[in-house]
C-alpha cells in the first residue's frame, strides 16, 4: 500500500515531479561541476606553473662565489668546485621522484671564438659557452631511461631559427646554439661554422656547427649554448657540472612547511618529509646528491604558492556558493510541493494516517526524487566539468566515485531539509477545515 501510494504520486502528476526533478538535477549538476573542477583542475594548474621554470637550484656546498649575473656564471674554469654528473640518475629515486618534472645540469666556461676562420689569431671574440643537456637520455639506477634537459626546465628558451642541437652528433664537430643577440651582432646563422679555443695562442681549436638561434629574453641571448660534454672539454672537467636546475611539482608552502624541520617532533617530521613541499624535496635531493647545497628559488616558489593557494581558495568558494544556491532553490521547490499538498495530507489524516506515516510517505517520495535527480545531475555535471577542463587545459578530469556519493548525500539532505519545515507544519493541520477547503 505504501509503495503504491508513492508510485501513484509519481504517475498521477508526472509534470510536477519532472519539474522538481529538473530543479534537483540542475542544482546537483552545478554542485558536481564545481566540485570536479576544484578537485581536479587545481592539481592540473600546479603543472601549468612549471612553465615558470625551475624552482630548485643545486650548487656545490663548498665553492668559491659564483660571479653570476642574470643566469650566466662568469667565473673562469679553474675557480670553484664541480659536481659529478654520474649522480644525477639518483634524482629519480627520491621519495617524491614522480614530482621531479625535469632537471638540467649547467656548466659555463669562457671561450674565444672566430666565425668562419679556422686559426686562433685575428679578431677573436670572447664569449661565454653554456654547456647543458637537451633532450638527454639518462640511464636511471633501476635500468629505465629518462629524457630531460634545458628545454623542459626553462620552457621560455625558444628557437628563433633552426633546431635544438643533437648531443650525439659527431665528436669532431659538435652542434651548438647561438644566442639571438650574439648571432645578430656577428652575423651568425644556422649552418655557420664557429671555431672555439681556450687561449689566444692555442693549437686546440674546435670547430662547431651552429644548428639554431636561441631566444630567451635574458643573458643567454649573448652566449653559445652547447652540449654539456663540450663545455666539460673546455673546462677540462670531464663528467662534471656546476649548477643544477630542478623543476618539481610542489605543494604551496603553508604555516607548517615554514617551520624549521629541526624543531619538529618525529611524527611532524615524517609528515613534512612525506609532503611535496619545496623545502622537503630540496632536502631529499641534497640527500642523494652528496656535497650539494639545494636552495629554493624563492621568487618562483613563492609566486607559484601565492597564486595557486589563492586560486584554490577561490574555486572552493565558488563551489560553496554554487552548493548553497542550488540547495536553497531545490529546498524551496521541495517545500513548495509539500505546501501545495495540504488537502492530500488532510485526506490521509482523515482516513486515519498519523503524522509520522504521512511524514515517512512524503520523505520517501522526496528521497526517491533526490536519488534519481542527483544521479542525472551528476552525469550532466561531469559532462560540463569535462567541457571546461578540455577547453581550458586540454585535459579531461576523471569522474570520481567520491563526488557521486557526496552529490547523492547532498541531494537527499537538501530535499529532506527543504520538506521538513512544511511537513512539521502539515502535521499540525486539523484535517476537517482543510477538507472543507477553508
Amino acid at each position: 500500500m505504501f509503495l503504491r501510494l508513492v508510485a501513484d504520486s509519481f504517475t498521477r502528476r508526472p509534470r510536477r515531479k519532472i519539474l522538481s526533478m529538473a530543479a534537483l538535477a540542475l542544482g546537483m549538476a552545478v554542485a558536481t561541476a564545481a566540485l570536479s573542477v576544484s578537485l581536479d583542475i587545481g592539481d592540473r594548474l600546479a603543472q601549468e606553473f612549471r612553465s615558470l621554470g625551475a624552482n630548485l637550484l643545486a650548487t656545490p656546498q663548498v665553492d668559491s662565489l659564483p660571479l653570476e649575473i642574470g643566469g650566466v656564471d662568469y667565473r673562469p674554469a679553474n675557480a670553484g668546485a664541480y659536481l659529478p654528473q654520474a649522480d644525477l640518475g639518483k634524482l629519480k629515486t627520491i621519495f617524491w621522484r614522480h614530482n621531479i618534472m625535469a632537471f638540467s645540469p649547467v656548466l659555463d666556461v669562457p671561450v674565444l671564438m672566430n666565425v668562419n676562420r679556422s686559426d686562433a689569431g685575428g679578431s677573436s671574440q670572447r664569449v661565454q659557452l653554456l654547456g647543458t643537456w637537451v633532450n638527454h637520455e639518462l640511464k636511471l639506477p633501476d635500468g629505465d631511461t629518462y629524457a630531460t634537459g634545458i628545454e623542459r626546465t626553462n620552457p621560455w628558451w625558444q628557437l628563433k631559427e633552426g633546431r635544438w642541437f643533437n648531443e650525439n652528433a659527431s665528436a669532431n664537430e659538435p652542434e651548438v646554439l647561438v644566442g639571438e643577440k650574439l648571432a645578430q651582432r656577428l652575423g651568425i646563422s644556422p649552418a655557420s661554422k664557429l671555431y672555439l679555443f681556450e687561449k689566444p695562442i692555442s693549437e686546440a681549436i674546435r670547430p662547431v656547427t651552429v644548428v639554431g638561434i636561441l631566444t630567451s629574453g635574458g643573458s643567454e641571448d649573448e652566449v653559445i649554448v652547447a652540449p654539456l660534454s663540450l663545455a666539460q672539454a673546455f673546462a677540462n672537467q670531464p663528467g662534471m657540472y656546476r649548477r643544477l636546475y630542478v623543476s618539481a611539482l610542489t605543494k604551496p608552502e603553508d604555516a607548517f612547511s615554514r617551520r624549521d624541520p629541526k624543531t619538529m617532533t618525529p611524527a611532524e617530521y615524517d609528515r613534512w618529509y612525506c609532503s611535496p613541499y619545496t623545502s622537503s624535496i630540496a632536502l631529499q635531493i641534497s640527500e642523494v646528491l652528496k656535497g650539494t647545497d639545494v636552495r629554493v628559488i624563492r621568487r618562483v616558489a613563492e609566486g607559484e604558492g601565492n597564486v595557486l593557494s589563492r586560486v584554490r581558495t577561490l574555486l572552493w568558494l565558488v563551489t560553496f556558493a554554487a552548493l548553497l544556491a542550488s540547495a536553497l532553490a531545490v529546498g524551496a521547490s521541495a517545500a513548495a510541493s509539500v505546501i501545495e499538498r495540504r488537502s492530500e495530507i488532510g485526506l490521509m489524516k482523515a482516513l486515519g494516517a498519523n503524522s509520522g506515516l504521512v511524514g515517512v510517505l512524503l520523505a520517501s517520495e522526496q528521497l526517491l526524487l533526490a536519488i534519481v535527480g542527483g544521479g542525472i545531475g551528476y552525469a550532466v555535471g561531469i559532462v560540463l566539468a569535462r567541457a571546461v577542463g578540455e577547453r581550458i587545459f586540454g585535459f579531461t578530469p576523471e569522474p570520481k566515485l567520491f563526488v557521486l556519493l557526496v552529490i547523492l548525500a547532498l541531494a537527499a539532505l537538501i530535499t529532506l531539509l527543504g520538506s521538513a519545515w512544511p511537513l512539521r507544519r502539515a502535521s499540525r493541520y486539523d484535517p476537517a477545515p482543510i477538507l472543507r477547503g477553508e
Binding site: R15, R16, L19, S20, A23, L26, A29, A33, V37, I41, L45, E48, F49, S51, L52, G53, L57, L65, P66, L67, E68, Y74, R126, V127, P155, W156, R185, T215, S216, G217, G218, E222, R295, I297, R298, R299, E302, G303, N306, V307, R310, V311, T313, L314, L315, L317, V318, A321, A322, L328, A329, G331, A332, S333, A336, S337, I339, V388, I392, P422
Partner: protein
C-alpha cells in the same frame, strides 16, 4: 487596462495569501541573486588581484642598452645613463611601478681586517622598491644601518663565503680603487642574488669608475598580459635608443597562467550562474504550476486567459524585483567579505554588478512563470470537481 486598482489588489492578495510560499519563493530567488552578484563581483575583482599576486615573481620588464658593437667582456658590458631612471613612469593603471637601476661590477672583496680577497659581483642599486624587484627574505636585518651612505646588503651565500653578518664591514677593491661598505642585511633569494652584494649605486659607480652609468633597469609592472605588453611598447616608443623587453621567463608564464586561470574562473562562474538560474527557474515553475485552483476560480468568474497570465506575470516581476534587490545587495556584501578571505583585501563592490544581477533575477522569475501559459487550457469546472 480597466480597473487597475482591482488588478493590483489581486496581485497583492496573490503575494500575501500564503506567507509560507512567499517566503520560499523569495528565498530561492534571493539566493540566486546573491550568488549571481557575489560571483560576478568577485570574478572581476579576482582577475585584478591575480595580476598583483603575480608580482611575487619580481621584476618582469628590463630596460637594457642596445647591444652595441662592443664586446661583452664579463660583467660590465655596455651601459646606460642613470638619468633614464627618472624618465620611467612611476605609475601604470593606478598601480605603482617599482623600478630599480642596477650597475654590476665584479670586484674583489674581503671582510674588514682580513687579507683574503675574493672576487664577487657588486650590484649598485638605486630606485624604489628593491624588495618588489628582487623578492626574497632578509635573514638578518639591522635597521639602524640601512640609511648610511655606505650601507650594503649581502646575499646569503656571499655572507657565508666572507664569514660576515649584519653589522660587519667589508672592504672592496677594483683596479686600484677602494671602498668599504657596512652590511645592514643578509638576503636569501635562492637565485643568483645570493652570491651578490647590493650597494648604493654611487659607490658601485665609483668602484667601477663609471660615474653616472648603469647596466640595466628592472621594473615590476602590474597588469594583465596585454597591459604589460602595451606598457612595454609605449616605453619602447618613448625610449627609442634603449632596448626594452619583458623577462620572458615571467612574462610568458604569467600570460599563460593568467589566461588559464581567468578562463577557468569565467567558465566556472558562467556555468554556476546558468545552472543556478535554471535551477531556480525549475523550482519556481514547480511552485507556479501548483496554482490551478486560483486559475480555475479566476476563469470561472470571467477573467480572460490573457488577463490571468498578465496577473501572474506581474506577480513574477514584483517577486523578481524584491528578491533581486535584497539578494543582490546581500551578494555584494558577501563578495566584499569573500575578497577579504581570499586576497586579504576587501573586494571593491562594482555598482554595475547590482543592476545586472537584479535584471537577471527578474528575467529568471518571469521565465519561470512561463509554464503558466499552459493554464490557459485549464477547465474551471474540472478543477472544482477535483478531477485534475
Amino acid at each position: 487596462m480597466t480597473n487597475s486598482s482591482m488588478f493590483w489588489r489581486i496581485v497583492r492578495r496573490l503575494l500575501t495569501a500564503n506567507y509560507g510560499r512567499l517566503f520560499v519563493i523569495l528565498l530561492a530567488l534571493g539566493a540566486g541573486a546573491a550568488v549571481t552578484s557575489a560571483l560576478l563581483n568577485l570574478q572581476i575583482d579576482a582577475k585584478k588581484r591575480l595580476t598583483s599576486e603575480f608580482r611575487a615573481l619580481g621584476a618582469n620588464v628590463i630596460v637594457a642598452p642596445r647591444s652595441a658593437n662592443s664586446v661583452t667582456d664579463g660583467a660590465s658590458g655596455p651601459t646606460l645613463d642613470e638619468s633614464l631612471l627618472s624618465q620611467l613612469p612611476a605609475q601604470y593603471e593606478a598601480h605603482p611601478v617599482p623600478a630599480v637601476a642596477f650597475l654590476y661590477v665584479v670586484s674583489d672583496a674581503a671582510k674588514s681586517g682580513d687579507d683574503h680577497f675574493a672576487p664577487v659581483v657588486i650590484a649598485g642599486t638605486e630606485g624604489q622598491g628593491l624588495a618588489a624587484i628582487r623578492p626574497g627574505r632578509r635573514t638578518q636585518y639591522l635597521e639602524a644601518f640601512e640609511h648610511e651612505s655606505d650601507a650594503c646588503e649581502i646575499g646569503v651565500k656571499a655572507a657565508q663565503q666572507f664569514h660576515v653578518r649584519a653589522g660587519d664591514a667589508l672592504q672592496l677593491r677594483n683596479q686600484g680603487r677602494e671602498a668599504t661598505c657596512k652590511i645592514f642585511a643578509v638576503v636569501s633569494t635562492g637565485g643568483a642574488e645570493d652570491s651578490q652584494i647590493f650597494a648604493n649605486l654611487k659607490n658601485a659607480q665609483n668602484l667601477a669608475n663609471l660615474p653616472g652609468r648603469i647596466s640595466l633597469i628592472q621594473l615590476s609592472v602590474t597588469g594583465t598580459p596585454t597591459a604589460v605588453n602595451s606598457f612595454i611598447s609605449s616605453l619602447r616608443q618613448n625610449l627609442p635608443e634603449v632596448d626594452v623587453h619583458g623577462i620572458k621567463q615571467f612574462t610568458e608564464a604569467e600570460g599563460r597562467l593568467y589566461n588559464r586561470i581567468s578562463g577557468l574562473l569565467s567558465a566556472t562562474v558562467l556555468l554556476v550562474l546558468v545552472l543556478t538560474s535554471l535551477c531556480v527557474m525549475a523550482g519556481m515553475s514547480n511552485v507556479a504550476i501548483e496554482r490551478k485552483n486560483d486559475v480555475g476560480l479566476m476563469k470561472a468568474i470571467g477573467a480572460s486567459v490573457q488577463r490571468v497570465v498578465h496577473l501572474f506575470r506581474t506577480e513574477a516581476i514584483v517577486l523578481g524585483i524584491l528578491g533581486g534587490l535584497v539578494g543582490s545587495a546581500l551578494g555584494l556584501l558577501i563578495s566584499i567579505w569573500l575578497g577579504k578571505t581570499v586576497f586579504g583585501v576587501a573586494a571593491e563592490p562594482r555598482l554595475i554588478v547590482y543592476p545586472i544581477s537584479v535584471a537577471l533575477t527578474v528575467i529568471t522569475s518571469i521565465a519561470s512563470a512561463f509554464p503558466l501559459r499552459r493554464l490557459a487550457s485549464v477547465r474551471p469546472a474540472s478543477v472544482f470537481r477535483g478531477e485534475e
